[in-house]
Symmetry: C2
Subunit: 369 residues, 2 copies
């Protein structure tokens, strides 16, 4: 099915709406500060607390969220003046970035502050202020144009339309370049115009991404392929979520068969605890398709012994509320029983194309995708 | 000037020639082994030695090369039978990959061996055999379709024509996607059809790459932008060399201002000592444009103190024959004197666009580009 026309308009307004919402929130934030000063009050900003006691797992949204405890940054409190000023400056810088359609990185924000004689001791301090601003706005920093430096890639039959300056209205089909397109600010802010794909497959390893492209998984299985390159950068997680929601596509995640691979999948699905203040980065309905511990057994894969660190990590995951589900529990127990792990490339022991010819179709059927 | 028609033909034959040369070399290698067996001789393969004693710096090609000492892998010698067999299998696997236009990675080759009951103890052993094959053929492993997993990105006004299966004859302008295109097998094997750029700028950091795209450095300075993402992967170094030679474009390299950034530039320019057996990855005429130690002083950049490890590294570089030139010597001495380093993003202290508006034009003039 070709998703077109109607969906296109819907998508367009979503991108625009998000931008407008952020600019409005920033304006409101600044307006409130000005108003308080006009009323001869010490200006202050409230936000949910990010202390560990206030981070809760929410089984409904299937992610960590912040509880009801609030903190206040007030210019009345002499110990707050510094973080309050930093927060207000960061908000004004975010407004500047968004208004000019310029992007930045955490590091760049740290250095840029010096152009305004704003004083951060180190980048950790400016990073923390940006997280404060995310918490105040309830939005990811990518929404106010602060992007991670790491990039992952995408490939598949999805036509996008750019909204970034100089490219407005230009379209590109994401299957145009078989090495993959980088996922950065332009793609994050693009509209989805037309999509012939029926599913999204997120892949941890670059080697497997390239194998899938070469073996035409995008055609054979009508898949959009995303290379996460290890832990998926936030912009990539945001894009997977958007594609899944706006294009209504199921998401399959394929990682190495070890606790670290499981967690790459889990962060795409349920987000990370330290992003409990944001709700727009995870894809709760995405599924981890392997490499499972049981795959190592069933496919008799070349494997290596779990290290002490791997085992320690598995015990941590066992206690993590995000790993409550039946599948997760079974795989954690199997890893602990067989004490082995395997990489995605291990399927090459049956030939380079085995993973595409046999494993992937079996998995898609098993996962009902 | 638009480089077209005539150059296009030349380029096309270069890509094709390289592929044909590799396939012919592999055939010759296998043919020699068969011939020796037919003549009732123990088969053997000769190659230059890669021992440290045989790695020499060549001031003419401005890179490390191998000397005249040769080693022989012979089936007559019982200690050689294993590496000899591994080398012959690797050559046949390389032939299979090239013939089928499939690519692979070092890790994938290790696992694939098991499909042939070829026995490598670990990946280090299979990696070493691939390096042996590079030495025998005098070609980079990318030429026989073994690619690094890491990818960097490119952006600029260069139209390429793909040669990989399913994309033969398709064209793409590399300025089509402002987040950048990944540099992988498809781009490495593409032909250069038309180029309006006048220079190549290789950039260490993703943040600066994105800044340059957003500030239209590709238009203002007619530049092809390459993001190396730290140490440039081999496929990226190969592509920079090809663009520099086939399109006759000068190359400017911009890195962080520290010994590690200097060495990122140096490896693009002169290659690495452990790739002394290959001559097709470096770009001797590329120039390191900064961030220089003298830039830290001249621009009064925010900086941090050199660590003990940084200083140790500078003393190593001082003894390295690749760092003989006047510019390198001056910058090493300046780093050691000021004991400071600075990141590319440090220019943001003068505003986000200062590096594009002021620093880059000054640098291009200074470097006569």
């Amino acid at each position: 099915m070709v998703r077109k026309a109607k969906e296109k308009k819907a998508t367009r307004s979503l991108v625009k709406q998000r931008k407008e919402k952020i600019l409005a929130s920033l304006k409101e934030l600044g307006g409130n500060v000005c108003q308080q000063i006009d009323h001869n009050e010490f200006p202050s900003i409230n936000m949910p607390s990010r202390s560990i006691q206030n981070i809760l797992y929410d089984p409904v949204t299937r992610q960590y969220i912040l509880g009801k405890t609030e903190v206040k940054r007030s210019a009345r409190n002499v110990r707050h003046i510094r973080p309050f000023t930093q927060l207000v400056w960061t908000a004004s810088f975010a407004d500047e970035l968004s208004g000019q359609s310029r992007t930045s990185t955490l590091r760049d924000v740290f250095y840029s502050a010096q152009a305004y004689e704003m004083n951060f001791i180190d980048q950790a301090e400016s990073d923390n202020t940006i997280t404060d601003l995310e918490t105040v706005l309830g939005a990811a920093r990518e929404d106010f144009n602060v992007f991670p430096e790491e990039r992952s890639a995408i490939f598949g039959d999805l036509t996008i339309e750019y909204t970034v300056p100089g490219y407005e209205g230009k379209r590109l089909n994401l299957a145009s370049h078989p090495d993959g397109m980088m996922i950065g600010p332009a793609l994050t802010n693009a509209e989805f115009v037309e999509c012939k794909a029926k599913r999204i497959i997120a892949i941890e390893k670059g080697a497997l991404f390239t194998r899938f492209v070469e073996e035409k998984v995008h055609e054979k299985h009508k898949a959009i392929l995303v290379q996460t390159a290890g832990q998926a950068p936030r912009a990539t997680r945001g894009l997977i979520r958007r594609m899944s929601q706006e294009l209504k596509l199921p998401v399959l995640i394929l990682t190495d068969g070890d606790p670290w691979g499981m967690h790459i999948a889990m962060v795409i699905i349920s987000g990370s605890a330290n992003a409990a203040h944001i709700r727009e980065l995870n894809t709760p309905d995405a599924k981890w398709g392997g490499v499972w511990a049981t795959d190592i057994v069933d496919y008799n894969l070349p494997s290596v012994k779990l290290t002490d660190l791997d085992i320690k990590r598995l015990y941590e995951l066992r206690k993590d509320p995000r790993y409550e589900g039946k599948l997760w529990k079974k795989e954690i127990e199997t890893f602990l029983r067989i004490r082995k792990k395997a990489e995605q490339e291990a399927f090459s022991r049956y030939g380079l194309t085995y993973i595409v010819d046999k494993y992937l179709p079996a998995k898609l059927e098993q996962m009902k995708m």
